[in-house]
């Protein structure tokens, strides 16, 4: 583990790490702006961006500006919000369940959100003509679904008041299977369009990013993220044990509900916007813990930044591997994340023995 030199205070160290990661995210973002089916040289990408804030530095075509500003920029912002949100949600859930194998996908938040989103899509087009309801309704449904599922897994996964890894994972498997079956059932009674959109839910897709989606994602992901940051100390305490956290003066039941609500909200919104993107929430907090330790005051913000970085890189790969086609981003994150998960399970068992 990374041990800080004695003359640097913890606070400065934290600032340096977060600053470095933020800078890296910015570089990845700018690089990602200029790559894709329609390639824009880096210098022109920068020129377009600077032009937006009123600084003229170089020439570019209107087409280049449109691709960059209307297609790629919202997409990168969405990848940043969703990736960051999944990273923080994963870190918070792992801390609360006191289990490093917990991930929003594994414990049913994602599938619960997807189920409710699919139900909404099948039911609502016939009912609603209001556009704003469409915009709010889908994330709201996804949030409710995610919350119900995470509560179910949490209570099923406990045996005599203690969270137990085996029970937890089995509960997650059961809930995921149920959600999968119900999604299938819903689709069976729906039309072709819904069938096609199921691929979107199951594999994840950032291709639908538009500027309209950004404010919603910005509020409903960034706000819970900041609220989670304020719980870092309590998350530290609860990762020692719920009993111990109570002894140390933490109001455990209220903290628990707060964490479940906030993570379900973030994951629900992310799923409603981009479908199920697996493994970001699992891998990201791990990498941070291995590199910088388990203190949630650093872990949570660093997980946001690393989640955003990883999802942007994954999206860049998805857009550039099979030009002009796009790979579903969930395929990329799963291809990278699943082997990592297998590795984690093997080391987790070793450390127990």
């Amino acid at each position: 583990m990374f041990t800080p030199a004695l003359n640097i205070s913890k606070l400065t160290l934290r600032g340096t790490i977060l600053g470095g990661m933020g800078l890296f995210l910015l570089i990845v973002g700018v690089f990602s702006l200029s790559k894709g089916a329609f390639s824009i040289p880096l210098s022109q990408s920068l020129a377009i961006l600077l032009d937006q804030v009123g600084i003229k530095t170089g020439d570019f075509t209107q087409q280049q500006a449109n691709v960059l500003l209307q297609i790629r920029l919202p997409r990168i912002l969405l990848a940043t919000l969703v990736g960051g949100g999944l990273g923080v949600a994963g870190a918070a859930l792992q801390g609360m369940f006191r289990n490093p194998l917990v991930e929003p996908g594994l414990i049913g938040v994602s599938s619960g959100s997807a189920l409710f989103a699919v139900i909404y899509l099948v039911l609502v087009p016939s009912m609603s003509s209001l556009l704003w309801l469409q915009q709010i309704g889908l994330p709201l449904f996804a949030f409710v679904g995610g919350f119900i599922h995470v509560m179910a897994v949490y209570f099923l996964g406990q045996s005599s008041g203690k969270s137990n890894t085996t029970n937890l994972i089995l509960a997650g498997v059961a809930i995921n299977a149920l959600a999968g079956a119900l999604i299938g059932l819903t689709l069976f009674y729906s039309d072709d369009a819904a069938m096609r959109s199921f691929t979107f839910w199951s594999l994840g897709d950032l291709g639908g990013a538009t500027w309209q989606k950004i404010p919603l994602a910005g509020i409903l992901i960034a706000l819970p993220t900041i609220l989670l940051f304020t719980e870092s100390k309590n998350l530290n305490a609860i990762s020692l044990g719920e009993q111990e956290a109570y002894h140390m003066g933490v109001n455990v039941p209220s903290l628990r509900i707060k964490l479940l609500l906030l993570t379900a909200l973030m994951v629900g919104v992310a799923v409603s916007l981009t479908g199920m993107i697996g493994f970001v929430g699992l891998v990201v907090p791990h990498l941070i813990r291995i590199s910088f330790g388990a203190d949630h005051r650093l872990l949570l913000p660093a997980s946001f930044l690393l989640g955003a970085i990883l999802l942007n890189i994954a999206d860049l790969m998805a857009r550039t591997i099979a030009i002009p086609a796009e790979l579903p981003i969930g395929v990329i994150t799963a291809l990278l994340g699943a082997p990592f998960f297998i590795y984690l399970i093997s080391t987790f068992n070793q450390s127990k023995n």
Binding site: R98, A245, H247, N251, G293
Partner: protein, 267 residues
């Protein structure tokens, strides 16, 4: 004063703790002794406020425990459970700092430093908690619960420990009990579940003997730790000798003999 009156707790009609009453003043060390399954840990959880009881009451400094919020309670009492698992790579110092999570202190760094010195864990501070030995972990956990009540306060506080010496060698056991004894000067009352009768005899001011959920004896250590009562509570012959050099009580247990066990039961 930590005061428990007529505590009754049952699971599925079966009493686990039955009409138990005891009290602990600040500046006292109270040892709770009893055979396995006597209800020690359940009583401990009720006293710490973690578990509600069916009948009876627990009060800290005259205030009923259920009326205190977890934060207020954390300022009055600190608890060390039997096993605490840490699944994430926290360093020893980070674990100790957690003890201050809900308490506002003007000098948190100094408190952590002092407590880690007192528990002899300062040299471990940058090591990952999970990589420490069992005894080291127990000392770090002790530091964590001590830091919570280390700062001087104008009201009496209490420390509750469930077998804090179970993973320690003899030198460390005595070192820990010495630390606990020294807490008397800080206006802190210590309640400790022990298995070692001799440790209780050497360090406790008062002893409560628990059997089948009932208090079989509660009072000054010297009055309670006597042969007949101990033999009865533990269902095993116990003799009390005098240490030839120090003159202190020495509690000796015989090896398992069916006849002698029967003899004392008939006696």
């Amino acid at each position: 004063m930590l005061c428990a009156k007529n505590i009754h707790f049952c699971i599925k009609q079966r009493p686990i703790v039955d009409q138990a009453s005891l009290s602990l003043e600040a500046g006292e060390v109270l040892a709770i002794l009893g055979p396995n399954g006597a209800g020690k840990s359940t009583l401990f959880k009720i006293l710490s406020g973690e578990l509600g009881c069916n009948r009876g009451s627990v009060g800290y400094n005259g205030c009923p425990v259920q009326k205190l919020k977890s934060k207020q309670l954390a300022e009055i009492r600190s608890v060390m459970p039997q096993h605490s698992q840490v699944n994430f790579p926290f360093t020893a110092q980070e674990v100790v700092e957690l003890g201050l999570v809900a308490c506002k202190s003007s000098k948190p760094k100094q408190l952590v430093q002092e407590v880690m010195e007192a528990t002899n864990t300062l040299s471990l501070k940058n090591q990952v908690f999970n990589q420490l030995s069992g005894g080291e972990r127990q000392r770090v956990q002790l530091a964590r619960v001590l830091v919570q009540i280390w700062e001087q306060k104008p009201f009496p506080r209490y420390l509750l420990l469930d077998e804090p010496t179970s993973a320690l060698d003899i030198a460390q056991q005595h070192a820990v009990l010495k630390i606990l004894q020294d807490l008397k000067h800080r206006n802190i009352g210590v309640l400790i579940i022990l298995h070692d009768l001799n440790l209780a005899s050497l360090y406790a001011d008062k002893v409560a003997l628990l059997k089948n959920g009932m208090i079989a004896g509660f009072g000054q250590t010297n009055d309670i730790l006597e042969e007949r009562l101990l033999s009865k509570v533990f269902d095993h012959p116990v003799s009390i000798l005098t240490h030839p050099i120090t003159g202190s009580k020495l509690i000796s247990t015989d090896r398992y003999l069916t006849r002698s066990t029967q003899n004392f039961k008939h006696a």
